[in-house]
């Protein structure tokens, strides 16, 4: 993912990514990334938790506007335990729809 991000930025379009693996993103030197401490496959949180999905997108858009140094990885410190707890109820509601 970092390779594509670097390639797009090098062609003149600003980029931002989200990562759950800060070490891998730092190694590839992605131009801008938001880090969430969540499991693989869940970069935008949990099913039907629209608010947390939007928070990740807004964090990405904010970093896009005010990053000053290439390679910045900014933490979005929302605990997975909290996302999971909130999402459990929402998932059950979603499954009933």
């Amino acid at each position: 993912m970092g390779l594509i991000q670097r390639e797009i930025e090098a062609r003149g379009v600003p980029t931002v990514s989200v990562t759950v693996a800060k070490d891998s993103t730092a190694a590839i030197k992605a131009p801008r990334a938001v880090f969430v401490p969540w499991p693989m496959g869940h970069h935008f949180g949990a099913p039907f938790h629209f608010e947390v999905q939007r928070r990740v997108l807004f964090a990405m858009l904010e970093l896009l506007q005010n990053a000053t140094q290439s390679g910045e990885i900014r933490d979005l410190p929302i605990k997975w335990a909290d996302v999971r707890r909130e999402a459990r109820i929402l998932t059950e509601q979603g499954r009933r729809l």
Binding site: E7, T15, P31, M40, G41, F44, P47, F48, Q53, R84
Partner: protein
């Protein structure tokens, strides 16, 4: 059994740190040569206009595609060096993921967990962002030849994002 006095650090789910520390080394020892380190930073490109006027694209390695599109090759030992185009108007019910390398059971319930296409449609409708590019891009992250990947997939997607879709901004997410 671990003695009570020598338990490992706090549960990462509670501490807010990387859930699986050392992922780069874990993957690289399992698939030697698949992980990448770059020596240099790419100079940052500044936004040229307000976000509310920007055309936004999305690129994902989650392998999602339209249900009537060809599935990704998920069993090939070297990976699949093609990508799929996803119309930015697609909904959860139009899309499917065939991939074995990460858990997508939650994404099967709500695709926005890994490919937030419906949230982006809302942000465009709310004029937080100007518009979405007609197409988004998807491929599978598992590939065992980063040089070939960079030469083919990365350049083709980047060219499509910049020259064909005319994106002002690109958001990207691995899986």
């Amino acid at each position: 059994m671990t003695a009570a006095g020598s338990l490992p650090g706090p549960d990462p789910r509670e501490a807010g740190t990387q859930l699986r520390p050392g992922l780069w080394h874990t993957i690289n020892s399992r698939y030697p040569g698949s992980m990448i380190t770059k020596p240099d930073f790419v100079p940052l490109v500044a936004l040229r206009k307000p976000l509310s006027e920007c055309r936004v694209t999305f690129v994902s390695s989650c392998g999602v595609h339209l249900k009537n599109d060809a599935p990704m090759e998920v069993a090939h030992p070297f990976g699949d060096f093609t990508f799929r185009r996803v119309p930015s108007t697609a909904k959860h019910g139009d899309l499917i993921i065939h991939q074995l390398k990460y858990p997508h059971d939650d994404a099967d319930l709500d695709i926005n967990v890994i490919f937030p296409i419906e949230r982006l449609q809302e942000l465009a409708a709310e004029a937080v962002i100007g518009a979405l590019t007609p197409e988004f891009f998807s491929f599978i992250g598992y590939n065992m030849d980063p040089e070939r990947f960079e030469a083919i997939v990365a350049r083709d997607i980047a060219a499509a994002v910049v020259e064909e879709q005319r994106a002002d901004v690109a958001l990207l997410a691995p899986a």
